[in-house]
């Protein structure tokens, strides 16, 4: 049987992985499992990847996110441990006596080793319990609930306005490519992105609150406010945020659509005699979705976790301000909880963007 070493029995063993090398490669799973340890789980996972690459990819992405979150939690804890100064002295300031400092340190268990404190903190955090604030002795989860609500409220309205506006303006810019509307949109958005956000905030305050007196300032929101009062309070910060994030998303939409516009099938559509807007909306935009989704996700994350400066300028009680307050007095449980929640937001939104991009990819949606 020297003629057929390829079909020989020697190689049939463990050759299953070679049958469809392309799909295995795509999922990133090693093509050849070890035949000796070939556990049931491994085989099952390989079959699953082969049959449902989409679900497998998403599951993998989810697993990665959870792992990342754990790594981040360790980094947050380590980073805070490395900060100079400690809570007791910072909190009491010049009015502290060594006695009071000692009392606080013992009270908070700061004398325990850091690994022990990390584990007990993580154990609580997994169950949604972030402990009590050292400074105010209130439940961190409870306080964060309110602050996060405020932050999300602000971010939601900023996103509600900026995302459709950015995508719409991007499409508009493509349609009038290199003509006046395109140039105006570009110049304005570039100007907005070049100014630091606090400066935009101050400008808006100066014009709308101080000189014209039409806008509400400060944008402090509190429990007893009605919904309309809240909306009027957040008008200026929302306007600032919209200006800050608009350009980024708009320019990415424009670039991605333009990229697709040079492809062959758009040319076909043009030759078919379709209108420019129709081509952009029906044929180009859906294929430019992945990069746009990525940029939108990043900006959404920014709207939740990156708006500290805007919150401070407008005196808005959101998460950013909460974390800054906590950092200044070294209120560790609060800082850790904020850091972890911020990280979770980033990871979640990035993951959502990835998954949406995967779903938007027809080659993965319809495996052969």
């Amino acid at each position: 049987m020297e003629s057929g070493p390829i079909t020989g029995p020697v190689l049939t063993d463990g050759a299953a992985g070679d049958t469809h090398p392309r799909s295995a490669e795509l999922s990133g799973v090693p093509a050849k499992p070890n035949p000796a340890t070939g556990e049931l789980g491994g085989t099952f996972w390989r079959r699953f990847v082969f049959r449902r690459p989409l679900v497998a990819l998403i599951l993998q992405r989810l697993g990665l996110s959870v792992g990342l979150l754990f790594a981040v939690s360790l980094m947050i804890f380590g980073g805070i441990e490395a900060l100079p100064g400690d809570f007791a002295t910072t909190y009491l300031g010049q009015s502290a006596t060594p006695q009071a400092v000692e009392n606080i340190r013992k009270d908070l268990g700061l004398d325990r080793p850091w690994s022990e404190r990390y584990l007990s903190w993580l154990g609580g955090a997994v169950q949604g319990d972030f402990g009590t604030s050292w400074a105010s002795k209130n439940s961190v989860s409870e306080q964060i609930g309110k602050r996060l609500g405020n932050s999300l409220f602000l971010a939601f309205f900023a996103a509600l306005i900026s995302v459709p506006l950015a995508v719409g303006l991007g499409m508009l810019a493509v349609q009038f490519r290199n003509r006046l509307p395109d140039k105006i949109i570009n110049v304005i958005s570039l100007a907005a992105i070049s100014l630091p956000e606090f400066f935009i905030g101050y400008l808006l305050i100066m014009f709308f609150a101080v000189q014209l007196g039409v806008a509400t300032f400060p944008a402090t929101v509190y429990d007893s406010m009605t919904f309309t009062e809240r909306l009027s309070a957040i008008a200026l910060p929302v306007a600032t945020l919209v200006l800050v994030v608009l350009a980024h998303m708009m320019r990415m939409t424009r670039a991605a659509i333009l990229n697709v516009m040079s492809s062959a099938y758009v040319e076909t559509a043009e030759l078919k005699g379709l209108g420019t807007f129709r081509i952009i909306a029906r044929h180009a935009a859906p294929n430019a979705v992945a990069p746009v989704i990525n940029v939108i996700a990043l900006n959404l994350a920014y709207l939740v976790v990156g708006v500290v400066v805007v919150e401070v300028v407008f005196v808005y009680p959101g998460m950013g301000q909460y974390m800054v307050d906590a950092v200044t007095v070294r209120d560790m449980p609060v800082v850790q909880a904020c850091g972890l929640i911020f990280a979770a937001f980033y990871i979640f939104l990035n993951m959502a963007a990835d998954i949406l991009a995967i779903l938007a990819n027809p080659r993965l949606r319809h495996p052969r």
Binding site: N103, A135, V312, Y322, D325, D331
Partner: protein, 529 residues
């Protein structure tokens, strides 16, 4: 001229000037007597407080970590919050700094000033309707004296040995005599709470002019007038709202757009800009807070008094006050006391910038090479600029100062009270004794200049229990001279408290005790429609 007229009018409104004086000064301005008479009448009428209205204050210093417990009140924001709802046993007089009765009607020391008997006011009701008793007072003081407590007043209270009720009176026994005890009880943490706050320290129930309506840490606090207030000379507005505004520009924007009536902590650099707004009034008050350059007296090269003297003489105080404080302050004289303290030792010669004399002492000290000064912007506003200014003025005396900028994070732990030469500030204390005991007594916790002298300690303790004012004043003079001529502190300036309000706000009392009318701003002002 109109500025001066405004000033005169304000003096009348504050009750600081009588009719004769006013007419005389007005005549000097060329104002006709009949006009001046009307002006005086309107100014004097304006002194009559109006009731009603909603007062809004935008304040720096709030944080989400703020505590409701007065024992743990530390920020500027909480300072005002506590003053608005709570009362103390003793308050300090706004202009003389002497103790005045509050919830304690009167007091009596023993001959050695070691036992004090306080008569507690009757018929005062807490916000929850309960009547104030001596027991509540005893429990309050006990809570703040407990070693386990995290009270900010713990340092003040540790000299109290025994607290007990004797009939309707409160009797305090001290470990040693202290003539200043009543003033120590004016510490803002020592708010009298029902049962001393033992059951619920966070309840925010007191006997003050306003009841707490809502409190969101780091966001806002609202108050309603206490209809059963035991005093009639305060609490003029119906409701008060304190809004946390940690951003200086936000505060200024809120004030100039009329969204708030009062803001605190104005950067001297921006005062001249804010002054241009027609509706705004700048309120600056001399205070006890001071900015310092501290040297460790026991660490080389600062263990040499000639070098310390050289460094003191090389400081240009006038320029410091002008450049760093924008003129909103007074020059210092290298001891931590100014004329806002009772028993201030007058007539001590002002130390001035003298490069020649500085060079003489520097040469005598035998030191050579640069002197390392550590600083950071958290030490006090403009500290880095001040250090550079100092470097320049010292250069003229032939002294080389090397300025090292340290990170603000951890400055109070790693640099202040740890490194031999750095910049810092002190907030001032209610009494001279307390100021010296906190920072200049040999074994003081915060002896940040390592000033250790037995004769100083002995004299300070003697002065503490001395009830004869003249003798005491003399002792304080000696103490001041010791610190001034041999201490490790270079004290170029006392900073003013700079706040601002809209012109609607009337009756602001310039209280030397502390910032924001000693925290009583919300209870003392009224709104002129």
């Amino acid at each position: 001229m109109s500025d001066y007229k405004d000033y005169l009018t304000r003096q009348v409104m504050l009750g600081k000037m009588n009719r004769r004086e006013f007419l005389g000064r007005a005549a000097a301005l060329g104002i006709a007597a009949s006009t001046a008479n009307t002006l005086f009448a309107t100014s004097a009428a304006a002194q009559e407080p109006k009731r009603g209205g909603h007062l809004k204050l935008g304040l720096e210093g709030a944080a989400a970590t703020d505590s409701k417990d007065p024992a743990k009140a530390l920020s500027q924001f909480l300072f005002v919050v506590v003053r608005t709802w709570g009362d103390l046993l003793v308050e300090s007089h706004p202009t003389t700094g002497a103790p005045v009765p509050a919830l304690a009607e009167s007091w009596e020391p023993s001959a050695d000033a070691a036992t004090w008997t306080f008569t507690i006011r009757k018929g005062v009701k807490f916000h929850d309707g309960k009547e104030l008793t001596v027991e509540d007072v005893v429990k309050t003081l006990q809570r703040h004296t407990d070693d386990k407590s995290e009270s900010g007043a713990l340092g003040v209270m540790k000299s109290i040995k025994e607290i007990k009720a004797d009939g309707g009176k409160l009797v305090l026994t001290l470990t040693e005599g202290n003539a200043d005890l009543p003033l120590l009880l004016s510490d803002y943490h020592l708010v009298i709470q029902p049962n001393g706050g033992m059951d619920n320290p966070d309840a925010m129930v007191g006997t003050g002019p306003y009841k707490v309506a809502s409190f969101e840490p780091g966001v806002r606090a609202t108050f309603e007038r206490n209809q059963d207030d035991w005093r009639t000379d305060r609490g003029y507005v119906d409701s008060v709202e304190l809004i946390a505004m940690n951003d200086a520009t936000a505060r200024i924007a809120a004030l100039s757009s009329g969204q708030v009536h009062f803001i605190n902590r104005i950067d001297p650099k921006t005062v001249s800009l804010l002054k241009r707004a027609p509706t705004v009034e700048i309120l600056n008050t001399s205070g006890r807070g001071h900015y310092v350059f501290i040297m460790h007296c026991n660490t080389a090269p600062f263990d040499n008094n000639d070098l310390r003297m050289a460094l003191k003489l090389a400081m240009d105080r006038e320029t410091m006050v002008q450049r760093i404080l924008g003129g909103y302050g007074k020059i210092g004289n290298d001891f931590p006391i100014n004329d806002t303290y009772a028993l201030f030792p007058e007539g001590i010669e002002q130390r001035v910038y003298d490069p020649d004399k500085a060079a003489f002492h520097y040469k005598k000290s035998g030191h050579s090479g640069p002197v390392l000064l550590r600083t950071s912007d958290v030490a006090f506003p403009g500290a880095v600029d001040a250090a550079v200014l100092y470097q320049e003025s010292a250069k003229k005396a032939g002294i080389e100062i090397e300025v090292k900028r340290e990170p603000g994070d951890g400055y109070w732990t790693n640099v202040w009270n740890a490194q031999p030469f750095c910049t810092s500030y002190w907030g001032g204390r209610p009494t001279q004794d307390q100021m010296y005991s906190t920072a200049y007594l040999s074994n003081a916790d915060w002896n940040d200049t390592r000033f250790q002298r037995e004769d100083f300690d002995k004299l300070l303790l003697q002065a503490r229990s001395e009830l004869d004012e003249a003798k005491r004043k003399d002792m304080y003079r000696t103490l001041a001279m010791m610190v001034r001529d041999e201490g490790g502190v270079i004290l170029p300036m006392f900073n003013d408290f700079v706040n601002a309000s809209t012109k609607q706000v009337k009756g602001y009392v310039h209280d030397i005790g502390n910032d924001m009318s000693n925290g009583y701003v919300a209870t003392r002002v009224w709104l002129d429609a």
